[in-house]
Amino acid sequence: MNMAVSNLYLNEFSRVKTALPGQRLPWLTNMREEALASFRTTGFPTLRDEDWKYTSVARIEQGHFSLRAATTQPVTARQIETLVLPDMQLLVFVDGHHIPTLSRIDALPAGVTVASIADLLEREPETLQSLLTRQSRGYSSGFAALNVACMADGAYIHLAEGAVLETSIHLLFVACTDNLASHCRNQLIAGANSRACIVEHHAMLGAASYFTNVVTSIAAGSSARIEHHKLQQESPKAFHIAAVNADLNEGSHFLSSSFALGGALSRTDINVTLSGEGAECSLDGLYMGDGRQHMDHHTCIDHSKPRGTSRELYKGVLAGASRAVFNGKVIVHPDAQHSDAFQTNHNLLLSEQAEVDTKPQLEIWADDVKCSHGATVGQLDDNQVFYLRSRGVDDSAARALLTHAFAAEMVDRVGLASLRSRLDRLLRERLPQSSEVLS
């Protein structure tokens, strides 16, 4: 990689490192330095890396994104009003830093802890030590290493054995400052038989150009039921790199969804390891690109123990000169017999300039398994358009309506009512003509 570019990021780190949280903790400073050393050698991924073959991060590499140890941006509750999802616990982060005055955490049931990572590193760093140490072994890319080195804040949610969180938690990340990089890290630790649902929401105030690099780690204890929904509504000039790493224990159930709507360039990696027998996961996703947006999803489901089940459905709608990448990998290890994996990816191309690169991938090392995948790329069915036109719907409204129907399947699958109605509204805003026909 270009040395001058990497120096930019290295210099930023040296500039703010003393102000990063947990600076008095030797284990953490070591961890940050080691991660930085790893970043120094690997740098940012390039098109030569198989996992980044279709996504160039040159614009992130060449951008001048500075780090800030604390936020200076005054954001009022009023400004974020429209972003907040009703009937949920709320944790707000502005430019990657927790703002307690905007957050609203009501009485939590026994055995549930919700805190900010920066706060926790000051108060009880020992809770995070073994957790973070375990996670910082071997980085999947330069972004993961950079995240560990520069980690400033994030959400920490802990559920004791049997704890049930009835109200979902809304993690709202608002970005509003130009040329800023934020490296957040979220931790969800769910004990045996616990239940929780979180929404990780990335939004913007004003259309700034910034760089978000977020990692969310989820550990589900045996028979736990966890839902994680990710809604990406970054600014049209923003760069968004995210990873969700989930580890599922025996009999646990994990439901993930990822909705990518914003950002100039966004990349979401969802890695699920079924490390206990009989674990189940379901991964949903919808990406809708327009203009020159680039949206990349990489999912990896690793069946490492027997009797695991995985379901995956990703859909994409590409208009303008947008480009989407989908890479869905399913691995079944030698002793993961009786695994059942099913994966589907459908893409709708709406314009001449749009492009889709999809790669569903199976790696099977066991024999008694049921695995299949399917992928399609196509356009709207002319017969269906004709039918609607014969019923007096004009061409563009007919196309909007059919596109709406294609995407709405993913929205309808969301169980969380307040999120579903938000997504429904966003979809209608995106396709105003379909709403006119529908209403």
Binding site: E50, Y54, P334, Q337, N347, L349, L350, S351, E352, A354, E355, V356, D357, T358, K359, P360, Q361, L362, E363, I364, W365, A366, D367, D368, V369, K370, C371, S372, H373, G374, A375, T376, V377, G378, Q379
Partner: protein
Amino acid sequence: MGNFNLEEFIGQDYQQGFFTTLDSDTVPSGLNEDVVRLISAKKNEPEFMREWRLKAYRHWLTLSEPRWSTVQYPPIDYQNICYYSAPRSSKDGPKSLDEVDPELLRTYEKLGVPLKERELLAGVAVDAVFDSVSVATTFKKKLAGLGIIFCSFSEAVQEHTELVRQYLGSVVPYTDNYFATLNSAVFSDGSFCYIPPGVRCPMELSTYFRINAKNTGQFERTLIIADKGSYVSYLEGCTAPMRDENQLHAAVVELIALEDAQIKYATVQNWYPGDKHGKGGIYNFVTKRGDCRGANSKISWTQVETGSAITWKYPSVILQGDNAVGEFRSVALTNHYQQADTGTKMLHLGRNTRSTIISKGISAGHGHNAYRGLVKVAKSAAGARNYTQCDSLLLGDKCAAHTFPYIVVKNPTARVEHEATTSRIGEDQLFYCQSRGIAAEDAVTMIVNGFCKEVFKELPMEFAVEAQKLLGVSLEGSIG
């Protein structure tokens, strides 16, 4: 799965593993510019060929071996390979079959190649390549009457120089990839075929490859040109003797279909796969590519891959002409310690181009089987259509099956579908067959053949029968 022993059923011996004692004309092993020049000189090639080989060799020196596939093997010592080995008796050039070394003919007989009378019955014209030199070509006269040129590559270089100069390397350039580049530098022989405009080749053309000598690599090159409105069906079969060392096979096949032409290319590859413990066997690194250059042209690849310790090949089609059609049908079987990384590339450039991919992978023992494919629809390919289906069948719990399909679509009017499944033979299927009095072995063979039917039905008759038998043989001892 019942009482019978899968291990024994799979573990059957390689039946083509005999070795023929022949006097060979062999160049000392090792590779340098002089060897390349020597090969060219031995074949009395024109200057452009020599220069082309040297350019390829120099380019090869700048390349490194590809490592991206799933296959694993110890490093190959390219200096320890002999790059030219010809049966000495054929040095002066056989005028007819009677002049061919009888020892050699016996070898072909053992292989079941219909080289003498049998070719009349089978109706197959054979160009047999024995350790890189084409030994005899049958039915030449009959074909010549129609204007069809079917001869060894060396002969084509001498007698049809202009055609070779025009088309050689136009589909697989010498810079293509590590193994194709090596082949371009040192290829010793192969087959050449030209079908003139409007001619429908009346019989199946066929080449039979065999690696005989020790420590030799086989680097043959096939070039088939189907001129406007012509049709040809071409078969290729391969075997090799049993040896403990691994042998390298790096071939290149180039197909060119002009306007309205159609080429059907079928391969039954049964190189020596190595023994039960993965010792020995052929490393089969092959580059095969077809170019549908004209409108309405069609190229179809059908392959049955049961041999080789390692198979690394991706027969591809470049769909340039409007309405061109590309097809790929494959059965790949890996048993014991065999590894296969195979698939196809369909590059849609012309309007309304269509492609179909049917890939059936069967893994048994410690076999590894990977499908790796690319379907690319360029901006210019309006109305392009692709259908892909890859199914994997797993027999035994030590084997593996992978799928790596790449789909790149840049045109909104394209329709691309991909489906893949991985499963094993159902207990209920086996139970059903057994309850009807079919022995477990036969039931497995039956189910496997059913699994591969879509591919087999595309093979010419003789090959289809051979392929089914081969599959049964290769699978013996693998059910449990």
